[in-house]
């Protein structure tokens, strides 16, 4: 058995050679092993994210899951005309989740979920050519989601939940392409907005018409973070630059997402899951930073487009204690041509995953590994305004991300 396992893992480790993207959903180590295709998988408390209604079909009266992912992402940039090259040195991202659901009675169950569905952690090399667009950005969004699930009958469950969200962002960029202080350091601006709260909701339905098939649909609403009291700070300005920027207002939307999924069991040990996610990225029209005083407002048109993500995953019950998983997903970039900015350089990407669950009594340890490769993309951002004109910033980007994910589940 050991040998079989080794072969399985090794064969999966070959996948990255073919693999592409770096913006990822990481809301459960168990589901991540099968490409995060969890809308019709009712196998643990992770269902509170993927499909809260699915928690009605869980075994046991109480299910809990918590876990953590470690994201190591890298983006590289080059421009052959000016021989510019740059690489990100992103700090490790650590998205987490914690889920708890229990059955109140045969019909009704409750759930509490805490997770981080959006976030970005990007840091470009100091002095790089795109510094007027971004030096670094750190965005975190935490959702707390209580849900109520009603099991109509043995086949259908419905769920509704409320989302309380907290967001924070720290964004640093150079003021423009050329300004330096007397010591020759580039002038930059840091925008900080912390503890912004907002809210949303989640609705879902789960169907289990037979033992071998299940289906689900989940709609998670948009959550818009509106920073009213952001703090701006200009650093390394030359003496003559007497503009000050202190407070700002800005809003950043977390888009709504609709997920539909189906899972089938062709035979007892094997489960195949398919997910389709549609994300309303078109809400991200523009990043507008309005300063409280006379400092000129900063408008960065985005014009993002809605995207589709396709996920396919497989789970194999290797033994009573061990499930093995593998998956692939294809993720579309929301960014139209000429809007490709290094502050969120997400191209179309491919994600490859594998994972396993090892069970011991009421406990289960989940592990998954994700490799995302962004397709190489040559594009530009044409809407950065400097004085009377909007100089284009163009180049070629490649990216990847490596994400080990760890989880623990408890069933009582």
């Amino acid at each position: 058995m050991k040998k079989k396992l080794l072969l399985f893992v090794l064969s999966l480790s070959m996948l990255p050679a073919f693999a592409g993207g770096y913006r990822v959903a990481l809301q459960g180590a168990r589901m991540l092993g099968m490409a995060h295709a969890g809308t019709a998988m009712f196998t643990g408390a992770e269902a509170l994210f993927f499909n809260p209604a699915g928690s009605a079909f869980l075994q046991g009266n109480v299910n809990a899951a918590f876990g953590l992912s470690v994201v190591k992402s890298t983006v590289k940039y080059q421009n052959a005309e000016y021989l510019w090259t740059a690489k990100t040195q992103n700090p490790l991202g650590t998205p987490f989740y914690a889920y708890l659901t229990w059955k109140h009675n045969d019909r009704l169950s409750f759930g509490f979920a805490l997770y981080t569905p959006f976030g970005s952690s990007l840091k470009w090399e100091e002095g790089w050519a795109g510094a007027h667009l971004v030096n670094s950005i750190k965005l975190t969004a935490v959702y707390f989601q209580p849900t109520l699930t009603w099991k109509m009958n043995d086949y259908v469950a419905l769920s509704a939940g409320f989302i309380a969200a907290w967001g924070s962002v720290v964004y640093n960029k150079d003021l423009n392409r050329f300004m330096r202080n007397e010591e020759g350091e580039k002038t930059d601006i840091t925008l900080t907005a912390k503890n912004i709260s907002s809210s949303g909701y989640v609705l879902s339905a789960a169907f289990k018409p037979a033992d071998w098939v299940s289906m689900g649909v989940t709609y998670r609403s948009k959550v818009v973070f509106r920073a009213r009291k952001g703090k701006a700070e200009i650093n390394d300005a030359p003496a003559f630059f007497t503009h000050t920027a202190d407070a700002f207002r800005a809003s950043l939307p977390m888009p709504a997402e609709l997920s539909t999924g189906v899972a089938v069991k062709p035979f007892k040990q094997l489960t195949l899951a398919f997910d389709y996610n549609y994300t309303w990225w078109s809400i991200y029209e523009s990043l507008d930073i309005d300063f409280a005083n006379h400092f000129p407002d900063n408008r960065m048109p985005k014009k993002w487009q809605n995207t589709s993500t396709y996920r396919i995953g497989a789970e194999y019950a290797f033994s009573e204690n061990l499930d093995l998983r593998v998956g692939y997903y294809s993720d579309q970039s929301p960014i139209p041509p000429t809007y490709f900015s290094p502050e969120t350089p997400t191209a179309d990407s491919d994600g490859y995953t594998f994972g396993f669950t090892y069970r011991h009594g009421r406990y289960a340890f989940d592990f998954a590994f994700l490799y995302v490769k962004g397709h190489e993309r040559t594009d530009s951002y044409d809407y950065y305004v400097e004085g009377l004109s909007a100089p284009r910033f163009d180049g070629t980007y490649v990216s990847n991300a490596l994400v080990p994910s760890f989880g623990l589940q408890i069933q009582l």
């Binding site: 893992v9 392409r177 300004m179 003496a239 003559f240 490769k373 190489e376 009377l388 284009r392 490596l402």
Partner: protein, 504 residues
Amino acid sequence: MKKHILLLLIALALGLGACEPEFSNPIDPDNPDVSAGEADFSTYVAIGNSLTAGYSNGTLYLSGQENSFPKLLADRMKEAGGGIFSLPLLEDDKDNIGGLKIGNTIIIPPRLVIDASEKQVERINREPTQQLDIKPGPYNNMGVPGAKIYHLVYNGYGNIANLPAGRANPYYVRMASSPDASILEDVLAQQPTFFTMWIGNNDVLWYATSGGTGTDQTGNPNVSTYGPNDITDPGLFGALYAQILAALFQQNPQLKGALATIPDVASIPYFTTVPYNPIPLDDATAQALNQAYAQYNGGLQAAYQNGLITQEELAKRTIQFVPGRNAVVIEDEYLTDLTALGLPSIRQATPADLIVLPASGVIGRPAPGNPNLIMGVTKPLGDRWVLVENELAEVRTATHTYNQIIEALADQYNLALVDMAAAMEKLVSGLRLEDNSLYTADYFKGVETLPNLFFSLDGVHPNTKGYVILANEFIKAINSKYGSTLRKYNPGYYDSDIWILPAN
């Protein structure tokens, strides 16, 4: 077994951690793929004046030299077989203040800055730190601020003994290989394989910037009769230009290079910033002023009735102020001389007259010596403040002839032609670069204009960004002529190097 799996997973994660995304065609900034084409950049020599030397903000300073277009070109040529490029660096000008001193005497003033407290442009209130130190060349950058075409072949232009008489140039004194060498001799001594030559600007510009106080020497090739602010005879210009090229090509028949044309003076902010009509008046003041000029206007009527001036001149000379913006009153030596009638040769300016930049500090202020008179209103602006229509026409005619000569010679010697005249014309309406950035020929009007600013505070010479754009113009012309692939610069990333001081 659990342990084994964990170890395996950790090893796997670490192994993949080393794996970075790679480009399908990665570039190597340390080994750019650049070709010299048919050109040989091994010894590049730049011939020219202040624009070749890197002069900016009204003087030459160290960082300006290092950002001179020939230095920028040479840096790119280095990627295609170019050799060392030496410059007569002002090494003691550590703070980039510019200017020159002999002993304690300042012979060249330091740079222009903006005094934010006074909201005006002035020389920085610091002494130059650079002595006129003699560092015999020759240098690859043979740009000498102030040089006209005839200075290139003038032995003694670098002799310090000729300085008091004004027959030598302190910058060439510093760099001449010997006191009696000529610039051309110093160029030839380096046996250039590639050269750029941008000369002739001062041959018209000094006349223009002086408000036409000099003489248009067209038709007179005798340089010994020239004053500093004269227009150089185009005939002489052509003969000397051809002589210089002949000498260069005699030495190296394989020589390659680029010649640049002379921009129209009316395209530079020195002449376009101060409007002809900057005098705001209310009704009462306008009427009072009209009263003051009633006698002059009456005299003009009499002169017209006596047939001394045409109706056209009468109309041109009649001074009339109205509520609102008014044209300045100027002296114009091209008017009919009516001094015998006690009538000065004055009139109000028209859009065809160009008021020079320094006049902005003069117009509307009390006249020196008579504080009751207001400059440009009750005291006419002297010749030096205005390039009047006729003077501008002289400058343009000479410039046009020079450019025809340069173009013909570029053609004859099969050299690259950098059409700076055309480039500056574009700049006036806004020069749009490939990346959609825009540069204008406007004068500095505030911090928010810095991104699009081409010129420095002297209104004649480019700022840092401007010189980068000039270098790109040379690169474009050279690449297209010789099939080389010298890389362009992106001016957007260069600080314009305009100094704005809280106080001066």
